[in-house]
Chain length 111, copies 2
DNA sequence: GTATAATACCTAGTGACTCTAAGTATATGT
DNA sequence: ACATATACTTAGAGTCACTAGGTATTATAC
């Protein structure tokens, strides 16, 4: 029944890769970026995002590097690997396949 | 990484409701119907479908009734309840919201 | 000066749910 | 007799978002 949660579950990796391929990004920024781009729809919790980033890094799709700001603050910037780019292309295809399959069932018929 | 599986997870309830609202249906038929309508994309296993139907029935969205064919075979036909219809309308809205949110992130930009 | 909020990261535990893999039973075709 | 299709059931494994807690720094407000 937690429909929203489950829908998100299948797309979070693609969403993260989509942002990181544009430019290296750190976790906190990604959360804010997804929220603003989706006009408030996506509000990822840290408990969702950080494990997801670690998972992607472990799979070799992105690579993290610590950076220290002049203020002393630390940030972990993630950038895309070649493997990540390939995976993103693949994900996009899968997403479109899924979309077209669903649209064959869930027609925008009037209720 | 099991992207496909997770994508499906968020939409299976809506897909089932979509079919059942058209006409009462039984499990085995639903599996075949989803497969043919999606041109082979959806191939639900029994272990996925039957628990999902039981879940929907338990929530009061559909109602099952056993029917015995002239051959002696038994089938459990599920039909839509008022609550189910309302839920379907709601799911459709949620699905469209999700779609539009994702499309704001995953643009069909060239790889 | 000292709360409070914002920035920035981490993770153990819970709960939800698909799928695997097994089982039961009848009907039909070979 | 045996295989295949129809038709339903469920225990167990594996995955992963989210809750809820933690650490640490910086900036703003009172």
């Amino acid at each position: 029944m937690a429909q929203r949660r489950e829908l998100i579950k299948g797309s979070i990796d693609s969403l993260l890769l989509c942002l990181i391929v544009e430019q290296p990004m750190y976790g906190y920024r990604i959360i804010k970026e997804l929220e603003s781009r989706s006009q408030g729809y996506f509000k990822f919790k840290e408990g969702t995002l950080y494990p997801a980033l670690h998972r992607l890094e472990k799979s070799g799709l992105i690579q993290g590097r610590w950076q220290v700001l002049s203020t002393g603050q630390q940030r972990k910037y993630y950038s895309m690997t070649a493997k990540g780019k390939a995976s993103l292309a693949d994900s996009r295809t899968k997403w479109l396949d899924f979309l077209s399959a669903v649209s064959m069932i869930i027609r925008p018929s009037e209720a």
